[in-house]
């Protein structure tokens, strides 16, 4: 009797469940993904126990970095028919005699935070070199010139007018000087903003009745 040769088979693993699982994960991640917008500066927020979440939309953020440079960001708002960012920049252009082309305005509408004096604004919108762009980000001036309020004041003022529902968040670096933060708060109060959201990282702290001094 001839020997029956067992056919050589490559071991096969059924990958269908794996693929199923991966698909589900992939779809979930795709749907929940909210990409990190490229920020103008790196901020290490201080910690707090607050669990309140920052609003997604209708938020105006003033960013203060370690060196006290000030950046600004406002979103387009919940209503996609409104073009808050475009409106604000147009108003700013009028205030400081800078005219922007529709293309430049459109570019600006899709960007995130920024921080430079109005003089450099056009240059920043048109340059494509990212290193050059970074160099232009010297912070928004906060000092008043010729009895005129500062540029930051007008950014806040026009943003308030363009989107009155926008909440104000202050995102400061832990190492930033409080003097600068106070200056920003003062400026906001001049714009009738009395409620600030300070952006922090969540850090739980447990204090129970046992910790009470006897």
């Amino acid at each position: 009797m001839p020997k029956i040769k067992a056919p050589v088979r490559t071991p096969h693993i059924d990958m269908t469940p794996m693929v199923d699982l991966f698909s589900v994960l992939l779809i979930f991640l795709l749907l929940t993904a909210s990409f990190r917008p490229s920020e103008a500066t790196v901020i290490a927020s201080p910690n707090s126990v607050s669990e309140k979440q920052a609003p997604d939309k209708d938020i105006m953020t003033i960013i203060i970095n370690k060196d006290g440079k000030i950046f600004f960001n406002i979103d387009n708002g919940k209503d996609s028919a409104k073009h808050t960012r475009v409106d604000v920049l147009t108003q700013m252009g009028k205030q400081y005699n800078v005219t922007f082309t529709p293309k430049q305005l459109n570019v600006f509408a899709h960007l995130a935070s920024f921080g430079m004096p109005m003089v450099d604004f056009k240059k920043w919108l048109t340059t494509t070199d990212s290193k050059e762009k970074e160099k232009l980000q010297t912070g928004i001036p906060t000092d008043s010139v010729d009895n005129q309020p500062s540029q930051l004041f007008f950014w806040v003022r026009f943003s308030r007018l363009a989107n009155p529902n926008a909440e104000v968040a202050i995102k400061g670096d832990g190492e930033a000087n409080y003097k600068k933060v106070k200056l920003v708060m003062n400026l906001l109060q001049d714009n009738k903003v009395n409620k600030f959201n300070l952006v922090t990282n969540l850090e739980k702290q447990e204090v129970t009745l046992k910790d009470l001094p006897k």
Binding site: H12, M15, T16, M18, V19, F22, S23, L25, L26, L29, L30, T32, A33, S34, F35, R36, S45, P46, N47, S48, V49, S50, E51, K52, Q53, A54, D56, I64, A169, K171, G172, D173, G174, E175, A176, N177, Y178, K179, K180, V181, K182, M185, Q189, K192, N194, K195, F196, N197, L198, V199, T200, N201, L202, Q205, V207, T208, L209, D211, L212, P213
Partner: protein, 210 residues
């Protein structure tokens, strides 16, 4: 899939049996690709949304209004001057009523300023914590908003806890101010305010213990 194979069988009849082909698809490349995509998305997604701490400042006064008088025995002044140091003194520093109170040095650790605040605020703290514990253990069933307003009411009715005045000089870091406001939230302090530092206190800071 199995249906298609059956159809094919029917067409060809029994003449020549077609080579039985495996219906399996090699899924390895697909899995590879998916792995890559998943890793990419995992790394780029910002999962933890930033948290915010809300602080409401009193409206700026346009004209000189009489300042709000607060009881000196309830006042606790906290002075911030950077370097993770907290100075505090109770009562008021009035140069017309010497002697000036001495500054006491403390820090942001568990046994630092928190102990002082808890000691001063123990009645309210106990009241609020007991209320929260009751909710957590299930003895008390109330909605979130009801609990919040109940705690708010307790804070409002509290007449013994300290009134904390937070003052920061130019050397203070933003971190210090956030930390101390956070400490107010931890200790359930009912009334606190961030106010400007005055010259008397600046002078006191100069001679403060290092």
């Amino acid at each position: 899939m199995s249906e298609i194979i059956e159809q094919e069988k029917g067409k060809k009849g029994g003449k020549r049996r077609p080579k039985k082909q495996s219906t399996r698809i090699d899924m390895t490349p697909m899995v590879d690709l998916m792995c890559l995509l998943i890793t990419f998305f995992m790394l780029t997604t910002a999962f933890s949304k930033p948290k915010v701490m809300v602080i409401t400042m009193p409206e700026k006064k346009t004209e000189k209004e009489p300042e709000v008088k607060i009881a000196a025995w309830r006042t606790l002044n906290i002075l911030l001057t950077g370097d993770d140091i907290v100075y505090y003194y109770a009562g008021e520093a009035n140069p017309r009523k010497p002697p000036l109170p001495a500054l006491i040095k403390s820090d942001f650790s568990k046994d630092g300023i928190r102990k002082v605040l808890l000691e001063k605020n123990k009645d309210l703290f106990r009241q609020i914590t007991e209320y929260r514990d009751k909710r957590v253990s299930g003895k008390l069933l109330v909605a979130d908003t009801t609990a919040e307003s109940a705690i708010k009411k307790m804070k409002k009715e509290d007449m013994k806890g300290p009134i904390v005045l937070i003052k920061a000089d130019d050397k203070a870091k933003y971190k210090d101010v956030v930390n101390i406001i956070d400490e107010m939230a931890i200790c359930n302090i009912a009334s606190y305010a961030v106010v400007d530092i005055n010259t008397v206190e600046l002078g006191m800071l100069k001679t403060a213990p290092k």
